[in-house]
């Protein structure tokens, strides 16, 4: 008699001997993860694990890498290409992984999500009309989204198929969260945003950030909120987030000092200093891309969130972004080394500083620059 698949699955594993978990060691590893994200070092995390690894179970592979080689390989080439190669646009060409879509008019903003890039275009001549949003998937298919025209800018969640936007009102704001895969709204919430919003137009409002269950909104009047969009719980933050990924936020104060912050508590993880042109957090929050002003030039580097030696990325500028898989993608500065005209070269670098270059076939006099995904304009 044929067995049912469900029964077979249960028969396969339900009677397995279950190893005994060491909750203390696992908790210590969890604390080490937090410590590593805040102020510690990888060495400190290892020591913390070792200090409590006394029980019967062994805690291994807790640095989020497989302890042993797995025996499988992915068969989602388009999704892998998107994660590895990232997304950007040149004029009307939108590149998502190894796929290219053409959109007219050219999009002016790209927001990365787990299922593809949400593009934003101006409708009508001169941008007089509303804004149009589409989802460009890693296989190159384009799906128009019914996100309403009052969404002046959307922010994507790189780990979920969601975007969010903020509609600024008088002394309050309305947060919208949208499922881009199913093209439907998931939540609408009203948040108090003290002050006359927008003051000087929407450029006075920092872009919303979406990180899992939480949306982060703030204004340049120094009020910021962390809102659980599923429950509506709203908490005012002691810092103003610029970007938030996996519970880690970047922030800068009125004096121009940048910090990495625990987004839930406001605890400062690390001071990045001043004289910084821009920053971008990796999707997993473990690294930050920083472009610092040197005496004569800008210097781009990747730094571990927890601290450590920066890895310099020659040729990259603030016009760069992270791929979902953890590589920085940007157009090579045409003045690099003072000799190479790199305006049509795209560079992708991993966190260890290994870089690959590829030509960009669509740049020309009319469209000389690459628009990186998630490129954030600070008002």
């Amino acid at each position: 008699m044929a067995e049912r698949l469900t029964d077979l699955l249960h028969h396969t594993v339900d009677d397995l001997p279950i190893p005994h978990p060491d909750a203390t060691a696992i908790a210590a590893a969890g604390r080490a993860r937090r410590t590593r994200r805040r102020v510690g070092t990888v060495a400190a995390a290892t020591a913390a694990i070792a200090a409590v690894g006394i029980g019967g179970a062994v805690v291994a592979g807790l640095d989020d890498r497989p302890a042993r080689n797995s025996q499988v390989a992915t068969q989602d080439p388009a999704g892998d290409a998107y994660a590895e190669l990232g997304a950007f646009s040149v004029g009307e060409h939108v590149i998502v992984g190894d796929a290219t879509a053409e959109l007219s008019p050219a999009p002016h903003h790209l927001a990365q999500t787990s299922v593809g890039v949400v593009t934003q275009q101006f409708n009508g001549a001169g941008g007089a009309g509303g804004k149009a949003f589409s989802l460009v998937r890693p296989d190159g298919t384009v799906t128009p989204l019914s996100i309403p025209a009052d969404a002046w800018s959307v922010s994507g969640d790189p780990r979920n198929a969601r975007v969010a936007w903020l509609v600024p009102l008088e002394k309050e704001g309305r947060i919208h969260v949208w499922d881009v895969a199913r093209d439907k709204e998931l939540a609408t919430l009203q948040v108090d945003l003290p002050g006359k919003i927008p003051e000087g137009g929407t450029s006075g409002v920092r872009e919303i950030q979406l990180d899992g269950d939480f949306a982060y909104v703030g204004t340049d009047q120094r009020t910021a909120h962390r809102v659980d969009w599923r429950t509506g719980e709203d908490r005012e933050l002691p810092f103003s987030p610029v970007a938030v990924h996996d519970g880690v936020a970047t922030s800068f104060d009125d004096g121009g000092r940048w910090t990495l912050v625990d987004a839930a508590t406001g605890d400062v993880i690390r001071d990045l200093g001043r004289r910084i042109e821009t920053t971008a957090l990796s999707p997993d929050g473990d690294h930050v891309f920083v472009v610092r002003f040197d005496d004569t030039r800008s210097v781009a580097s990747i730094e571990p969130t927890a601290g450590g030696t920066p890895v310099e990325l020659p040729g990259l500028t603030g016009l760069s972004s992270w791929s979902l898989g953890g590589r920085v993608v940007g157009q090579v500065d045409g003045q690099v080394d003072g000799q190479v005209d790199g305006t049509s070269t795209l560079r992708r670098c991993d966190v260890d500083g290994r870089c690959d270059d590829a030509p960009i076939p669509w740049t020309d006099e009319e469209n000389p620059l690459v628009l990186p995904a998630d490129y954030l304009m600070l008002g």
């Binding site: 044929a2 397995l16 908790a27 969890g30 604390r31 937090r34 592979g61 807790l62 390989a73 068969q75």
Partner: protein, 188 residues
């Protein structure tokens, strides 16, 4: 309204979570990665992530769901990093070979773990989540961060592959192109 979890769990709260969630997570992990030691590592990592992100979890009850999500996403991350190191995916599954005979060497018991290991990771994940963990299409889509349509198509592809790999020995759910798949759980 759900109560907010404190910034860090108490030792008791976290120990309770580990001990209650561990068996189920471990079995799911074994189905996903086959290797028992790797499955153990996977669940430990997922629970450590859960601890590390406790402040971002709505309530204690949600922690278990968070941990399950972490098992699947961490496994996916492991697979992806392996592919990034130069192992390119193949377009089609290999034909079954003698070592993966569904009945195994003794011929009396189906080695489902070996069969599952031949599925692409996403197909394997949807099979495990839908037919072992008893999640709906929508719940599976939400957990994997993909669309319901992708879950359906991946499920359909997975069942086709399983049908080919398992032969007639297993009663697999019917898949009719263009129609919703039936739910796979046997718990209702």
């Amino acid at each position: 309204m759900a109560s907010r979890a404190s910034r860090s769990p108490t030792d008791e709260q976290f120990a309770d979570l580990v001990h209650t969630a561990w068996p189920s997570l471990y079995r799911t992990a074994v189905l996903l990665v086959r290797d028992h030691a790797l499955a153990e590592d996977l669940v430990q990592t997922a629970l450590a992530k859960t601890y590390g992100n406790w402040s971002g979890i709505r309530d204690v009850g949600a922690a278990r769901a968070y941990a399950r999500r972490a098992v699947v996403t961490t496994a996916t991350s492991w697979f992806r990093r392996r592919s990034f190191r130069g192992e390119r995916p193949t377009a089609e599954l290999p034909e079954p070979v003698a070592e993966t005979d569904p009945r195994g060497a003794t011929g009396d018991r189906i080695d489902l773990l070996a069969i599952l290991a031949q599925l692409p990771p996403r197909q394997r994940a949807v099979v495990v989540l839908r037919y072992y963990d008893d999640l709906s299409v929508e719940e599976t889509a939400d957990l994997l961060g993909i669309t319901s349509g992708t879950v359906k198509s991946q499920t359909s592809a997975a069942l086709d592959n399983l049908r080919r790999l398992l032969g007639e020995g297993v009663d697999l759910p019917e898949t009719i192109p263009g129609k919703p798949l039936t739910t796979g759980g046997h718990h209702g």
